[in-house]
């Protein structure tokens, strides 16, 4: 094949890969086709990568052994690590892993842009447009790299990145300075490339170094002050950034598949971020500017004035066993206690006794939208029993017992009134159930850091236990009846 034919074939294969991304992403809009969509997208990726390898091997001059070694060893090392982590990660820890993958993606995009710039600087290839796209790719890529690492650390609850918002002294000033450095760098490098100012190669490289540093620090100062509760939205936003960075890298190396895939993720990730923020009744601007969140560290703190009624395991078991309908409200406490199997066991036991059991899934139950569904599905809870919030809320009035397991803020009736940090947040109408059983370790507060009025409700009985232990005890108590 002539060189031209090879490039044509390669280009068409890249295009096919990009088309697979679009169709695959579209299929992921619906539960019925989501899995196929992801596989189609993975196929597109395989085609794009193999095509690139073919192109490099067959083009004039071929591929040097060192370069081939870098590609193969790098792939095995990175792919192996990714595969291992994706396979062994506990489903509860999955959000932080996604954030970690996002971080390395952003890092890779930044490196591609940096490497290309170092090659063209001082040569005729150093054009105005190259300089623009390089600086944009570097800045966005660096922000997502450190920003996603911090987000991942916050979701994991690492001590250097606590889940609660961390205020940086003079935060606004720092942010302003960093933005000015990045902007100044952009202007200087573009002006140098355009010939407006005369800078030598060393100075330009040093300016790029400053821009890299500004981006890296900006990622940290952007995410550190945001509370853990908002991390899903932040991770999604950074995901969109990485897409944009990949597109910028595509401009730099003039590659269509990078541009298409990157722009696709940048735009769809932006829409998805908006959808997520809406589901949590948060605005993206408010989140980035800082707001409520954090406060997970207060578990164990005793709430002051709220009078609560404590409930024994046997009493709770009787209430559940003789109810005709029970709605289970699972929350993050259930996820961390790995109690999804115990809750399914209890539900099956109740169903055998003729109790109608459903699960009320708040849009942000768990750590991320949809996270709770994954956890319950892993425990083989039948999918039709999982009900979304709008769907289940009218049913609480008719239900005999609402069993709240490790969920807190999403059940707080205070959200219906203005003036509370959770005001306006969509909640599950648990307080409308005929009676309520709450399994909780202590009177500790949720993410919002406020008391839950539900616990003071006379209809509510508190069963103080770890979610898994409490559910296991309930299972034995129901069996004994």
């Amino acid at each position: 094949m002539s060189q031209e034919w090879i490039y044509t074939t390669v280009f068409l294969a890249w295009l096919a890969g990009a088309a697979a991304f679009v169709i695959g992403l579209h299929q992921m809009n619906s539960p019925a086709t989501a899995r196929n969509g992801n596989r189609l997208s993975a196929t597109g990726m395989t085609v794009a990568v193999l095509t690139t390898l073919f192109y490099l091997l067959t083009r004039e001059g071929g591929l040097r052994v060192e370069a081939l070694a870098i590609i193969v060893i790098g792939f095995l090392l990175g792919g192996g690590a990714g595969l291992y982590m994706a396979r062994v990660v506990k489903m509860t820890a999955m959000p932080q892993l996604v954030s970690l993958f996002n971080a390395v993606g952003g890092g890779a995009a930044a490196i591609v842009a940096i490497d290309d710039y170092l090659r063209v600087v001082g040569t005729p290839d150093e054009t105005l447009s190259t300089a623009i796209f390089v600086v944009l790719g570097v800045v966005i890529g660096c922000i997502t790299f450190t920003g996603s690492l911090v987000a991942s650390g916050k979701l994991q609850g690492l001590s250097i990145t606590p889940s609660k918002p961390v205020l940086i002294p003079g935060g606004r000033l720092v942010t302003l300075v960093l933005a000015l450095v990045a902007l100044g760098g952009l202007v200087a490098l573009v002006a140098a490339a355009g010939g407006a100012i005369d800078l030598d190669k060393t100075t330009q490289t040093a300016i790029l170094g400053l821009v890299i540093l500004a981006g890296l620090v900006f990622g940290i100062t952007m995410v550190l002050p945001i509370g853990g509760a908002d991390m899903p939205v932040v991770v999604s936003l950074l995901n969109s950034f990485t897409g944009t960075a990949a597109a910028m890298a595509g401009f730099v190396i003039n590659n269509p598949v990078l541009i298409i895939a990157g722009a696709l993720v940048g735009a769809s990730g932006g829409i998805l971020t908006k959808l997520m923020a809406d589901a949590m009744n948060r605005s993206i601007v408010n989140i980035i500017a800082g707001g409520f969140g954090g406060g997970e560290g207060t578990v164990g703190a005793v709430a002051g004035a709220t009078q609560v009624r404590e409930l024994g395991v046997d009493d709770a078991a009787i209430q559940l066993a003789y109810a005709s309908s029970v709605i289970v409200v699972p929350g993050y406490g259930l996820a961390v206690a790995q109690a999804q199997h115990a809750v399914r066991e209890l539900a099956e036991l109740l169903e055998e006794r003729g109790v109608d059991v459903k699960y009320a899934i708040h849009p942000v139950a768990g750590r991320m939208p949809g996270h709770m569904n994954v956890l319950l599905a892993e425990a083989n809870v039948p999918y039709p029993q999982l009900r979304e919030m709008e769907d289940i809320n009218p049913e609480f009035e008719r239900c005999d017992v609402a069993l709240v397991v490790g969920a807190n803020d999403v059940t707080n009736p205070a959200a219906r009134r203005p003036g509370s940090p959770v005001s306006g947040m969509p909640i599950l109408d648990v307080d409308r159930a005929k009676s309520i059983v709450v399994i909780k370790r202590s009177m500790g507060r949720g993410y919002a850091g406020i008391d839950n009025e539900l616990y003071g409700n006379p209809k509510t009985g508190m069963l103080f236990a770890d979610a898994k232990q409490g559910l296991t005890d309930l299972v034995s108590a129901v069996k004994a009846l």
Partner: protein
Amino acid sequence: MSQDLLYALAIFTLAILVGFEVISKVPATLHTPLMSGANSIHGIVMVGAMLIAAEADTPLSYGLAFVAMVFGAANVVGGYVVTDRMLQMFKKKPAAAKHGSEPKA
């Protein structure tokens, strides 16, 4: 601006519009898998890493290409595998047929 760049800008603009349209009303259940799926797609930057590896000729550029390659590959492979694990919940389970598996109306 060069012809190549103008075409690239056209592709970029259209791809952004496609990206806006491709996601419509998504149930909250799918938000996380969808984000994770999009996350794997930007692993395409690995193709960029391969292309810069092929051009590398200094120790620094070898090093940069290698790190980019490792990062990109982790993004691609890990991203798709973890997304697939999340989406397993939509697999039809014969075990679930035991209790009320009729789809909701």
